[in-house]
Symmetry: C2
Subunit: 351 residues, 2 copies
């Protein structure tokens, strides 16, 4: 609220804040004026540093846990650091290449396999928890559809999308369909819609439904009824994959079992985390939520670094890492950024 982020900190204050954040990220302990003076490489005395620190504290960028400990960056301080002081360390070429190959290989296992692989790689590269939302189905194109009758007005629908992904769901229909009829419906849909995006197919079916029902023949009425259910938006599919949660147990700030429990419950609960990831999907580029900025209790002391990945320019999902606020942003931001690009291009349907 009060002191604007763009507050014109002097060059020295910025240097000191950057150094303080580095120290804190490295050691996780409050940093005092003496060590900060050394760390920053400035030829000034601790007393001078203290004066600057007092200013920084006044602006709300740093705080001291108690009267006579060193200072710790606040969420706001980290925000300023991330926005204005951060200089990222680009990933090494060969690391990127390894990453690309791993993703390309695991993409063979289908889209879910790719998501697993990506979250795994994220967690390994960062030593944090990696998260990847499963790609939205909307940009997917239909390759093949098949129906099998189950008992009691239920139909098993099998969709092959994007060349190799298989999805299946049980449809509850208004009347009984027999095998032959379902076969005809599938034939029609395959002939008409193979290679078309699912969202487009849905549109077509809905508009056919809204047209005069009388003018549709029996087959088309069935096609519309069954197809509309089969291609309905898939809510259950909006999930995500986590890997390397155990990495989070290494950090001091999570050594409290109660906190840890809450966090892990949030992971299995999925709801809150999913909301948050959805929010990240709204903007392009690397998004960073620091501590309480996310608006969730559990995220106190934690940060989320994400980037969305796109297929054919269309946003398809989000991936990133979760870890303590004192993570090495300079290393992690590029990792998340690059991974998102690589996942996007691995998903490219032209491949």
């Amino acid at each position: 609220m009060s002191p604007p982020l763009e507050h014109d900190l002097g060059e020295r204050a910025r240097t000191l804040l950057r150094a303080l954040v580095h120290c804190y990220i490295r050691d996780g302990k409050p940093v005092g004026s003496r060590s900060l003076a050394r760390e920053a490489g400035l030829a000034v005395s601790p007393a001078t540093v203290r004066n600057v620190m007092a200013d920084l504290e006044h602006y709300g960028y740093i705080t001291s846990p108690h009267t006579s400990a060193g200072r710790v960056p606040t969420d706001r301080g980290l925000r300023f650091y991330v926005d204005c002081l951060l200089q990222v360390q680009p990933m090494g070429r060969e690391t990127v290449e390894r990453l690309r190959r791993r993703l390309a290989r695991d993409r063979e296992e289908g889209t879910d396999g790719l998501a697993d692989s990506a979250s795994d790689l994220l967690s390994q590269l960062t030593n944090l928890a990696g998260v990847v939302t499963v790609p939205r189905r909307e940009w997917a194109v239909l390759r093949h559809v098949e129906f099998l009758p189950l008992s009691e007005r239920r139909v098993l629908a099998i969709l092959v999308i994007n060349q190799r992904d298989v999805q299946n769901r049980v449809l509850h229909t208004d009347r009984e369909f027999d095998e032959a009829e379902l076969q005809r419906i599938a034939n029609y849909l395959n002939a008409e819609f193979a290679g078309v995006e699912l969202s487009r197919i849905r549109e077509s079916l809905v508009s056919a439904m809204q047209a005069d029902q009388q003018r549709l023949d029996a087959l088309m009425r069935s096609v519309v009824e069954v197809g509309e259910k089969a291609f309905a938006e898939d809510r259950t599919n909006s999930g995500y994959v986590v890997a390397g949660q155990t990495n989070l147990m290494d950090f001091e700030e999570l050594s409290d079992v109660e906190r840890l429990r809450e966090l892990f419950e949030a992971f299995t609960q999925k709801r809150d985390i999913l909301h948050l990831l959805d929010r990240c999907a709204r903007a392009d580029g690397v998004q960073i939520y620091i501590g309480q900025e996310a608006g969730y209790e559990v995220f106190d002391g934690l940060s989320l670094v994400t980037a969305r990945y796109a297929v054919d320019g269309e946003p398809a999902g989000v991936l990133g890492v979760i870890g303590p606020s004192r993570m090495a942003y300079d290393r992690i931001v590029p990792i998340v950024d690059v991974t998102a690009r690589l996942v996007g291009s691995a998903l490219n349907p032209s491949r």
Copy 2:
């Protein structure tokens, strides 16, 4: 090793051991002679109890953490308790019925859905971690198979088994197959093998392959090549589902973050736990591994209670719970037992 389990403990010693185990399970703290005398409901003095406790300690059933704390049952003591002293508390009728309905409902989601549901229910009923191995595919019968060509001598196989379960895998073939040819192969397999167990199908194909290749026509050669790969034993499928891991964080004995981390890593690693569950599958009825009995470091202080579930009399998988050794066996054994039966009958293909 030394004192045999069937050691003839006197009636009073047994009563005291049972009471001690109950106390310990309830409070998790060493129990002293005074409180034990009260708890056991015996009209004897603490001093007498102490004498008996000294015996029990000598036999290795109990131990004291240090000179002047109370006693705690050893793994061996718990084993004796479970084998000889345990009187289970049958589940309430209405709980069983609720369980049955939930499982029947979630079975609609397919076999994986049932496994998820079962582990969830186990963890909720016991406040421990629930585990369920996904059913072996062997007893499954084929309903329908379909092939789609991918690029570069790869074929996507889609199997519908047990009415509603869909499995897909990518086959690497020796030569290119086109859509029409794959269609013919699928037609043949569907006509010949619909309703047959996968293991039988595999046998048939293997024996056809071993027969004189010359005598097979072109179609049959293709059928054998593709089909043999499609119905090959699925190793990746041998997984399991865990639910309620966070429940384990509540227990004192796991409040050490390092221990917790190891345990959770074992969960995600899957290997060790899977070995253990496999071992449980070898015997019928409820199996209990107490602490180090399992032979794994991580299981120190933990117990595993499992039962295998069967379909049509054939063992299909294992389910159970993992929790601290001081779990309420009298309540938990029946829960695991009943759940295994219910899961088995929910999977019954005749339904």
